[in-house]
Subunit: 211 residues, 2 copies
Amino acid sequence: MALKTLAPVKAADLDKELMSSGGFSLDQLMELAGGDGLVAARHLHHFGYKPTIYYPVPSKPELFVGLQKQLKSLSITFTEDFHSSMGSTDFIIDAIFGFSFKPPVREPFPSVVEALAETSKPVLSVDSPSCWDVEGGPPKEGELGAKFMPPYLISLTAPKPSIKFYKGTHFVGGRFLSEDMAQKYDLTVPDYHGVDQIVEAPVDASGGEKL
Amino acid sequence: MALKTLAPVKAADLDKELMSSGGFSLDQLMELAGGDGLVAARHLHHFGYKPTIYYPVPSKPELFVGLQKQLKSLSITFTEDFHSSMGSTDFIIDAIFGFSFKPPVREPFPSVVEALAETSKPVLSVDSPSCWDVEGGPPKEGELGAKFMPPYLISLTAPKPSIKFYKGTHFVGGRFLSEDMAQKYDLTVPDYHGVDQIVEAPVDASGGEKL
């Protein structure tokens, strides 16, 4: 399966188009792509897990305020201490920065990125490992987070350009794109199985733009 | 598993509360409960099926206009002729009337209800078989749709009172209700398995309010 990558500017265009001519609302896209860490936490709770959320800089738009309400009504724990929570968890979902992140990493996140880079616990990053430049890839040697290579990565809708630097287990999610829209944005709709919402998509060792 | 039923007035209250103190938007509820026939059609398309939609009286609110746009961008067929489309389909999803339906059945639906009652093809009804009174159950003998007993029924969030008249295979969906909200509305959160979004919930032969 050859998947093409989606650069941040193109991805923002695609989102805009999905919300105008595509007829999707932001709320719907958030539910379907499942990318936001808050939506993931809610699903994990219903699947029987006990997620703890580190969300030191809450977003102000109504959608995010609503998601926080949902999580609090499920009695899901919010922590301000990433480091001690990390000590007692089995699995970490890194949904800190979106795919439009540009360095440098700002406070309070440098020590968080460092902890993610050092931990031996499994980490799943969403779209692009936090602290990576979405186009340029991981930080240079000696820089903050240079060693951060999470064992798992999930790309929502399509891999982002930094995927060519990624070595690990890669999944794609976001099973709602029409063939028309995929063609227009030169993307490949992966072969999902049955009613699965994600599919494993091995990274091409050649490191090209295509997977 | 003992599931309790949810009367229409209570169900409307629950929706209102989910959207106020619960922090959910209508768009999110629609995606999560999956009840609306339009959302179901979109998922079916992505799962590889070829749904045809009969939607003779389109709803005006933006959410429904958006859903129709999404379906049209997937080139999903809308039909005005329920009867000939029914002839060429393998499976029918009955999401015509919502759970707040009160008789009588209005045009253009009487002949549709008749066809649903007569067909030998499998029918899945959402929340309550269309033409049933959600509290009172199926029409009386001799009335339109009196024989309508679909082989499959899916209750979203909780069974509606008419479930006590239902004989067939019953599922529950809507895996997003908090324990607090379930307690407040005296509902049971069913035992979903793994990451399943629905679960089969056998109907109690005693025909009581509880399943």
